[in-house]
Symmetry: C2
Subunit: 204 residues, 2 copies
DNA sequence: CTTGCAATTGACCAAATGGTCAACTATAAT
DNA sequence: ATTATAGTTGACCATTTGGTCAATTGCAAG
């Protein structure tokens, strides 16, 4: 019944971008406000702290970006291994685009934040881990389905998930850490090895 | 020809520990000084900036800890795959000890710093990447030797190194990010899969 | 057209930040 | 013992930090 605005959304977007680029601790409230075109007073009208904003920004990114994309790619109507292949391709394309747009690729925002916030801010840490965990569920489902189809040869689903998940987040993290896309290149082939898929059918 | 002291060493040690625990941006010069038992004036007598100290601390850690340990474990007198196995075991033990001592495990200091400093401080970033690169050379040599012995079944050494290296740093990063040691547990078995070693000999 | 309230503003704050400096002190070598 | 100098000190600084607040503004519904 009064004034409305999208300042809150702009703040979450700005916080998401800046944190992704520079890390949580390197980003200041002032910088977020400036980027969002919002005065600091308004910031603290919408959020009670920088940490709360970071959490809200993660939730926002998950709801509006990550989740829909994952639901699309990991649709049960896709063959399980096809999901992985497609996902890795999308990842590569996105990070490639980011390299061109921003000059470097930034990896997985949840993972970076989780690494940084460990032992500093328990609430931010917990939140980042929650979204990582949700993300890993898609990998898990795909591998489980693949096994049900007999498409993979593994001793244990959990162990296989652990391996592919490490490979995936590791490759994203490395691509950020060393500033190039190489680690993302062979993700699918490496995963197939972990999953015990005989001689990844090389098209001739 | 005058007073000597180990203040410089104490500063590097303090910076190393604090940065490993809390991250580069979260650590303040004051905190480093307090931990080292050194006044800020002395800090800037030995180092011209926080960044320079961070770099010196990395070099110090590499020379005095990482390098000797890697040289020992990756000795050419060890069979190549044995080197990997031993290294992964040592990693696990160290991170386990850290969990007990510090309440959580901290992963690889060079990798964490590399992720955080990307795009912020070019010199710190470059330094952290240099030490990561040196570390990866040990993995590369082991895999190359393994292939020369016919102990692995891989298409390309480079590709295999990429995979194992991603798995290794990924597992360390994840163990920090999520705060438990699970990712480090199956590192060797997963690596053997990537290296195409048939059915890791399960002792009965 | 009023009025109630969501949203905005900018001035303000205490604390913390990275960094400086001139003066001082202890000691190793002569 | 003197001296040259490596090392130490603590006061000081400008800036930035996260955060507060009372006053104000604009809009949507009655």
């Amino acid at each position: 019944m009064a004034r409305t605005s999208d300042a809150k959304e702009r703040l979450m977007a700005a916080a998401g971008e800046l944190t992704w680029q520079q890390g949580y601790n390197a980003v200041t409230v002032d910088a977020i406000c400036e980027r969002a075109g919002v005065k600091k007073g308004s910031f603290y009208y919408f959020f009670k702290s920088k940490a709360e904003l970071a959490i809200a920004a993660m939730d926002n990114a998950w709801q509006t970006r990550s989740r829909p994309e994952l639901d699309r790619i990991f649709s049960a109507s896709n063959p399980p291994l096809e999901r992985l292949k497609q996902y890795f391709n999308v990842l590569y394309q996105k990070q490639l685009e980011m390299s061109q747009t921003q000059g470097r690729c930034l990896g997985c925002p949840f993972f970076s934040l989780s690494m940084e916030s460990g032992g500093l801010d328990p609430e931010v840490w917990e939140a980042s881990r929650r979204y990582l965990n949700r993300k890993s569920k898609y990998i898990e489902a795909a591998i489980r389905d693949a096994q049900a189809e007999g498409a993979v040869e593994i001793d244990s689903v959990d162990e296989a998930v652990e391996g592919v998940w490490t490979l995936l987040e590791g490759a994203l993290a490395r691509s950020r850490a060393q500033g190039d896309l190489d680690p993302l290149r062979d993700l699918y082939d490496q995963s197939l090895r972990l999953l015990g898929v005989k001689h990844p059918v090389r098209e001739t």
